[in-house]
């Protein structure tokens, strides 16, 4: 339990600094430090058990379906890393308290730092590789926040993004790799994986892809060549962040994972050649670049790259002893590198610059800082008797025993060169900053920092010396326990000594030190030689790649989504064509068996008119009024065809819908240009013609195929049962209000919504920018002198009661004869809208104070309540009931619940149509700046025609 608490504490504690900053910076830093101390204390309680060789485990199931468990375990490797993370974390927190400036948001800083710390501890204690992935990605995210901490600096933002992109993409590769590894083993739990037979893993066909993907994850995180370039740019972070993330923790996560999976992944040649070679190249390249970095943090960053390469190389050797050396160097590197980063931070803080060219001669001005730098730098160079010397010697010894492609001399030679460069840049750090003449142009006057800044690195430097002098006493047990964990039992008996005698390794060291010293002595010449060479600028290349990715994304995506509806529709229609024809040709098909009927002359004429109507639409499509008439012709012919095929209901619906929509379009056309401009190129018109032609042929073919074959469907049931079960003789109406009344319920809602939407749309037009544009709109056509012609007014008045009567009639007979609420609603709406057209909206609206919202709302409610009535007596929604009654005079008649439903339909149709039409015509009146007429028509019979503006 306490194991899980070590991971959870930093996450929970991350809230504290964000809150405690309210009571000051010290409280804020202390809260963060206490969280770390607590976690560290918990960790230390497990030290004895782990050093005894025990493995502490704790776990819960999280997502069993995935094999993702919240399992933690602590062994030597976990202990080493968790100790480094928490220990150095504590030092960094103290250091940062004095480092951050007054206007830096300190609460955020410690919150991010604790989140990062939790994620790191999570990585090293996870006993489930999927859980490890979660923490792994979290370190990418939190380091993104930390590197970009100074968000006003472009370098900070870019460095943060670069780190996120590189380590994030490595993380994605790692996800795939881990899933494959889990697939091979059959479990995602590390303890299971580590106990799995390595040979079985190596022989799996998935081993190589899994290995490659995992290595990409590790190499990106640990800044291995060629992914090394992000690390120096992460130096835009505040120095405490660099000291923490880029010396001791995050960049070591890759090395940690290599070590963690070492027992099961290492062994085959591919491991050696990939891992050892990458490490070797990284070690040399990193050291080479470091030597010529003027920025102290840049120098240290590339030095870190180089040392990480060395650890990777050692793990790549795949021998237990090499692994032990790697473990020892992890400890040593963390101590001297964190100290040096803090040191660089002090220099920056106190002199105002980290540029070696502006520094030099600080030895006497900053004696404490200089002392610490000299010791830590000497350790980095690998000078005795410091800890860096020890692990370097052991590394050289291992190198001497390793052949690369059968060549025993190659590795020692290259590694010695790398070590030489290491010595050189270490010397440079010390010599170029602290030695040489004092200058008088430091950006600010240098002096030693307050103790808060130099104590943490001093503590680390103390370790550097002590481990160097008494290696086995201080670090021996830890190294042995860790090596045992890394090698899973194959551990050699490691003992750490300062003096190994006169060995080849010592000779290599001497060469390296001598060469390094020479390089610094003749630095100007070396530098000139370096200037002549190529300097591939990784950031520029990276930026170019990202910019190219963005540019090509823009070209692809924004080029595709160019806002052209024509294109979108063309693609959609093309897709339909492809699917339609593919469906046809890939499936079995045969022609219909139904005998064809010969066309009667009437039918032939009707269809000729239909064709003419279609042709008219195409021919006059740019003259919108004519096009509307053409579409109207087509609609009426369709209605005629319904009549021809004995479907009077459909015909009536079609005709009334046709009338209403034509009126609607005409009203809308009032606001639109009367002609469609030519916008498409001839090319595009041809394309569209081909698409339209093919679609027409396809659809026509389908219709032909459907109609030339016999089929059985549900319709026979409806025909047989409409009267007996539905209580109506008009099957269409019974289907609409009973068998499939629920569809109708949905459709009247559609109509109601359409009414509400059009109302809302028109309302929106009377505000804002559109309002101004509409207000400034000039009529683009000649107005009729007869705005409200007397003839029309009279006729519509006379017709109104007739129309209403017809509506009622159609409505009532609907259940048994053609008709019904839907058609009746349309008819009544037409009758009403005619009044608006004749005498104008304003005039009519003053006299018909009906609110069509109420029609819509009421209609839907009545239809729904009719349906709910059935529910009250225990039947499903919309269950119909009917019975026959007889009354004197009237005789026998039927009362059906469907009638109530149909009333709802009727009201909604009237409301929906009227709400739309009425408000559209009102907008038309408003736009033409015409006042509401006082008289119903232009010429009142018996009254003298008045003249002037107001008479209209």
């Amino acid at each position: 339990m306490s194991l899980a608490l070590i991971v959870i504490l930093p996450f929970l504690g991350a809230v504290l600094p964000a809150l405690m900053i309210r009571s000051g910076r010290a409280a804020c830093a202390l809260s963060a430090a206490w969280v770390t101390i607590l976690a560290l204390g918990l960790l230390l309680t497990h030290v004895p058990a782990v050093l005894r060789g025990e493995v502490i485990q704790v776990g819960w199931e999280w997502i069993p379906a995935l094999g993702l468990n919240v399992n933690f375990f602590l062994d030597g490797l976990g202990l080493l890393f968790a100790g480094l993370i928490l220990g150095i974390g504590l030092l960094v927190m103290i250091y940062a308290r004095f480092y951050l400036a007054k206007d830096d948001p300190m609460g955020n800083f410690y919150t991010y730092l604790l989140l990062f710390q939790g994620a790191m501890v999570g990585i090293v204690l996870s006993d489930n590789i999927l859980l490890l992935l979660i923490f792994w990605e979290l370190t990418s995210l939190t380091s993104f926040l930390l590197i970009g901490y100074w968000r006003h600096l472009p370098e900070g933002r870019q460095g943060a993004r670069m780190a996120l992109i590189v380590t994030g993409s490595g993380g994605l590769a790692l996800i795939a790799g881990m899933l494959l590894l889990g697939n091979i083993v059959g479990s995602y739990d590390l303890t299971d994986i580590l106990q799995h037979d390595p040979y079985e893993i190596h022989n799996s066909p998935l081993y190589v892809p899994a290995l490659l993907l995992i290595l990409i994850g590790c190499f990106t995180k640990s800044a291995q060549f060629p992914f090394h370039f992000w690390l120096p740019h992460a130096m835009a972070a505040p120095t405490p962040v660099s000291a923490y993330l880029h010396s001791a923790t995050m960049v070591k996560a890759g090395v940690f994972l290599l070590a963690r999976l070492w027992p099961v992944l290492s062994g085959p040649d591919i491991w050696f050649y990939l891992v050892a070679t990458t490490g070797l190249v990284t070690m040399v390249v990193g050291a080479y670049i470091a030597l010529f970095k003027d920025d102290l943090k840049g120098l240290l960053a590339f030095s870190t790259v180089s040392h990480l390469g060395m650890m990777t190389m050692l793990l790549g050797f795949a021998t237990p002893m090499a692994a032990a050396v790697a473990v020892f160097h992890i400890i040593n590197h963390a101590t001297f590198k964190a100290a040096l980063f803090m040191n660089a931070g002090i220099i920056d803080h106190e002199t105002g610059t980290r540029d070696t060219k502006k520094l030099g001669g600080l030895l006497l001005l900053m004696p404490i800082t200089a002392t610490l730098a000299v010791i830590a730098g000497a350790s980095m160079a690998g000078l005795p008797p410091l800890n860096g010397f020890l692990s370097k010697e052991m590394m050289l010894a291992e190198v001497n025993q390793t052949a690369w492609f059968g060549q025993g001399w190659l590795l020692p030679l290259v590694v010695t060169a790398g070590a030489l460069l290491s010595v050189a840049y270490s010397f440079r750090y010390v010599v170029h900053v602290f030695f040489g003449p004092q200058r008088d142009d430091y950006p600010s006057k240098p002096h030693d920092p307050p103790a808060g800044l130099w104590l943490p690195p001093a503590f680390l430097v103390g370790l550097v010396v002590l481990i160097g002098l008494f290696p086995d006493a201080i670090a021996g047990d830890l190294v042995r326990a860790t090596t045992a964990a890394v090698t899973q039992g194959g551990a050699p008996d490691v003992h750490l000594y300062l003096w190994h005698g006169f060995t080849p390794a010592l000779l290599m060291s001497v060469i390296a030190v001598a060469g390094g010293a020479l390089a610094i002595w003749r630095y100007e010449r070396v530098r000139a030689w370096w200037y002549a060479g190529p300097h591939p600028e990784a950031k520029a290349m990276f930026d170019r790649v990202v910019a190219a990715a963005i540019a090509s994304s823009k070209r692809l995506v924004l080029g595709l989504h160019n806002g052209s509806l024509q294109r979108y529709l063309a693609l959609m229609i093309s897709a339909a064509l492809v699917l339609g024809f593919a469906g046809f040709f890939t499936a079995t098909h045969g022609s219909g068996a139904r005998p064809l009927l010969s066309a009667s002359p009437v039918a032939a004429i009707i269809w000729l008119v239909l064709l003419a109507g279609c042709g008219m639409v195409i021919r006059y499509q740019r003259d919108r009024l004519l096009a509307v008439i053409g579409v109207g012709v087509v609609g009426l012919i369709v209605a005629a065809m319904f009549v021809y095929f004995s479907a009077p209901d459909l015909a009536m619906t079609q005709i009334s819908v046709e009338v209403v929509t034509t009126i609607l379009i005409l009203l809308a056309l009032y606001f639109l240009p009367k002609e469609t401009p030519v916008e498409s190129s001839p090319m595009r018109r041809r394309r569209d013609a081909v698409l339209a032609g093919l679609t027409g042929l396809g659809t026509g073919g389908l219709a032909w195929a459907v109609m030339t074959r016999d089929f059985t469907s549900l319709s026979s049931f409806y025909l047989e049962n409409a009267h007996d079960l539905g209580g109506g003789d008009n099957v269409v109406n019974v289907i609409l209000v009973d068998f499939r009344g629920f569809d109708t319920f949905g459709e009247i809602i559609v109509l109601g919504i359409a009414g509400l939407t059009i109302f809302a749309l028109l309302h929106a037009m009377t505000r804002g920018e559109l309002y101004r544009r509409l207000g400034a709109w000039q009529l683009d056509m000649t107005k009729s002198a007869d705005r409200h012609p007397m003839l029309m007014v009279v006729i519509t008045r006379v017709m109104l009661p007739l129309v209403l009567l017809v509506g009622v009639y159609i409505f009532l007979r609907g259940h048994n004869m053609p008709g019904g609420g839907f058609i009746a609603g349309l008819v009544v709406a037409i009758g009403l809208i005619m009044q608006y057209m004749a005498s104008g909206y304003g005039w009519a609206a003053q006299r018909m104070t009906i609110n069509y919202h109420a029609f819509i709302g009421g209609g839907v409610l009545i239809a729904a309540v009719t349906g709910i009535g059935a529910m009250i007596i225990g039947y499903p929604f919309l269950t119909g009931a009917f019975d026959y009654f007889s009354l004197p005079v009237i005789g026998k008649f039927e009362v059906a619940s469907a009638l109530g439903f149909d009333i709802g339909v009727f009201l909604t149709v009237v409301g929906g149509v009227m709400l739309a039409l009425a408000h559209l015509s009102d907008l038309g009146r408003w736009v033409s700046h015409a006042p509401v007429n006082e008289q119903p028509m232009d010429t009142l019979p018996g009254a003298e025609r008045r003249h002037g503006e107001g008479s209209e």
Binding site: W62, I63, A65, L66, L68, I134, L138, S140, R151, P154, R161, S169, L172, A176, L179, A549, I550, S553, K554, H561, L565, Y568, M572, I573, L579, A582, G583, T586, G590, S591, T699, L702, V706, L714, Y718, D738, F739, R740, F742, D743, E747, I749, V750, G752, I753, A754, L756, F759, A760, A764, R767, L770, I856, G857, V860, A864, Y875, P876, F877, L878
Partner: protein
């Protein structure tokens, strides 16, 4: 008769007209009605979901007509779960909208309720034509919501939205007509039993119908090449509406899942697995276009809209494998991507309202009110959307990768999911640093153009992000549940048997 099933439809169908009829002049009453209705919908959804534990498939015969003659509503685990998701998202969005967005134009609340009704209807109906009707309901309501409050750009995007979807409706009718012509039925359970028996001579008509329906559902689900309506619509719709639309793409995904497992599933004879060969490549391309769009975006809202497209690609890639394991993963991803998309659109609006003069354009601008806090919310939302741990996107991604493992195209799916994740990460990192971090380098301070609403918008965002966290923390039980959902999808006999009992009439059928 168990009337519970129809209530998720009936309640908004009553509340919406009631608002239009009685309280349309009183925004406060509208809000009370609307929020109450949505809360009850959430409770109803939970009750229905609970009821599927003991009674996994329930049917409701409208008008008391025996299937396949009447219309039937079917509640199973999948539809119950989606009812809860819809109501939950709807409630969060509504809480956000009632702080002013709803008063920017007319009839927000009736349209909102009708929209919920349409979505719920699409999830519940067991009839193909009735599904068309509900597609119309949700289309017209969504159009009304989309153009809510007006504005030239919004109107233009609205025209594209409604045109493309109307063409889709036309194709829907053709598809349904073709299927009806060779099977003689519209009831989905009945279709499931009939499609296998269609004559060889008629099979092409059946499959053309099936494929045209796939295209129609793909339009709703924003799959390439019919995704074009989405970026413009989402980026121009009022952001709360865009957030609600996060569920609309899932209606398309739902229809694909339902139709191509139940009707054109394994038992469809020669037409089995009709959708798979088309769906997978389309989904993969969708992933690429969507996530590349995140990188290409010029506005924050645009980035989120493209991320929604990309997430639909991931979701449908998992669906297209058509196995039970992949389906369970797809369903988790469905829940996650709906929540994450909704949250991000609301967060974009938080930015919009404060970044006066710059809105969500990806340009450097001075800091604005609550920059830090909104940046944190955005970070969480973007983490979820791009699949960074520990939020639900990461779990969803892992589940999908794990679920499609057996597919012969697993390498493609893996490679593209992971590769496009990177595009999304880069895109969101760029967008976020530009809007939230670069402001620190620009002087001055942006005052909001209008007084900002109190805390409720943050509560709404918090609910959605909280849901993502809950979905992560309780991923164990959730995946167990989703496994039962997927199992039911792949064992349609229970569904068919409930709708069309082979022995005896169900209670109270009128014949």
């Amino acid at each position: 008769m168990n009337h519970w099933i129809i209530l998720p439809l009936l309640l908004p169908a009553l509340v919406a007209p009631l608002i239009a009829l009685a309280v349309r002049h009183d925004i406060v009453l509208q809000r009370i009605f609307s929020v109450s209705s949505t809360v009850i919908l959430l409770v109803l959804g939970a009750i229905l979901m609970g009821s599927t534990a003991s009674d996994p498939v329930q049917s409701y015969h409208l008008g008391n007509w025996i299937a396949p003659f009447g219309i039937v509503l079917v509640l199973d685990r999948l539809s119950a779960m989606l009812l809860v998701l819809t109501a939950g998202l709807g409630l969060a969005v509504l809480l956000y909208a009632i702080n002013g967005w709803d008063a920017e134009g007319r009839h927000f609340h009736p349209l909102f309720q009708f929209q919920l009704m349409g979505i719920n209807g699409a999830f519940l109906t067991g009839d193909l034509f009735n599904l068309f009707v509900f597609f119309e309901v949700l289309l017209i309501a969504s159009y009304g919501l989309m153009v809510h409050a007006g504005g030239a750009a919004r109107m233009k995007a609205g025209v594209q939205y409604v045109t493309i979807n109307l063409v889709g409706s036309g194709l829907f009718l053709i598809g349904v007509g073709l299927i009806y012509s060779v099977t003689g039925t519209l009831n989905m359970a009945h279709l499931a039993t009939e499609v296998g028996r269609v004559d060889a001579a008629d099979r092409a008509l059946l499959e053309i119908g099936g494929l045209l329906l796939l295209l129609v559902f793909a339009v709703k689900a924003a799959l390439v090449p019919v995704q074009f309506w989405l970026p413009g619509t989402y980026a121009n719709a009022p952001p709360p509406v865009a957030a609600l639309f996060a569920i609309m793409t899932k209606v398309g995904a739902y229809a694909i899942i339902r139709v191509y497992t139940l009707i054109f599933g394994d038992d469809a004879g020669a037409s089995a697995n009709l959708a798979g060969p088309w769906l997978l490549p389309a989904a993969l391309v969708t992933m690429v276009i969507g996530m590349a769009g995140v990188l290409a975006a010029r506005r924050l809202g645009e980035a989120v809209a493209f991320a929604v497209i990309g997430s639909m690609g991931t979701l449908l890639a998992a669906v297209s494998v058509f196995t039970q394991e992949a389906m369970a993963a797809a369903l988790y991803y469905l829940l996650h991507s709906t929540i994450a998309g909704g949250a991000l659109f609301l967060i974009v609006d938080l930015v919009n309202q404060r970044r006066t003069g710059y809105t969500d354009w990806l340009r450097a601008a001075p800091p604005f009110v609550h920059t830090g806090f909104i940046a944190a919310l955005f970070l969480l939302g973007a983490m979820a959307m791009t699949g960074m741990p520990p939020l639900s996107g990461f779990i969803g991604k892992l589940l999908v990768l794990d679920g499609v493992r057996e597919s012969s195209y697993a390498v493609w799916i893996w490679g593209l999911i992971l590769g496009t994740s990177l595009l999304a990460i880069v895109g969101f990192a760029r967008a976020g640093t530009t809007v939230f971090w670069k402001s620190a380098a620009v002087g001055g301070y942006l005052e909001p153009a209008r007084p900002l609403a109190p805390a409720l918008p943050f509560v709404a965002v918090g609910i959605l992000l909280g849901a993502s966290i809950v979905l992560t923390a309780f991923a164990g039980p959730v995946t167990v549940y989703l496994d039962t959902v997927a199992e039911q999808i792949y064992n349609p006999s229970g569904y068919i048997e409930t709708v069309l009992p082979t022995s005896g009439h169900p209670e109270g059928v009128r014949p």
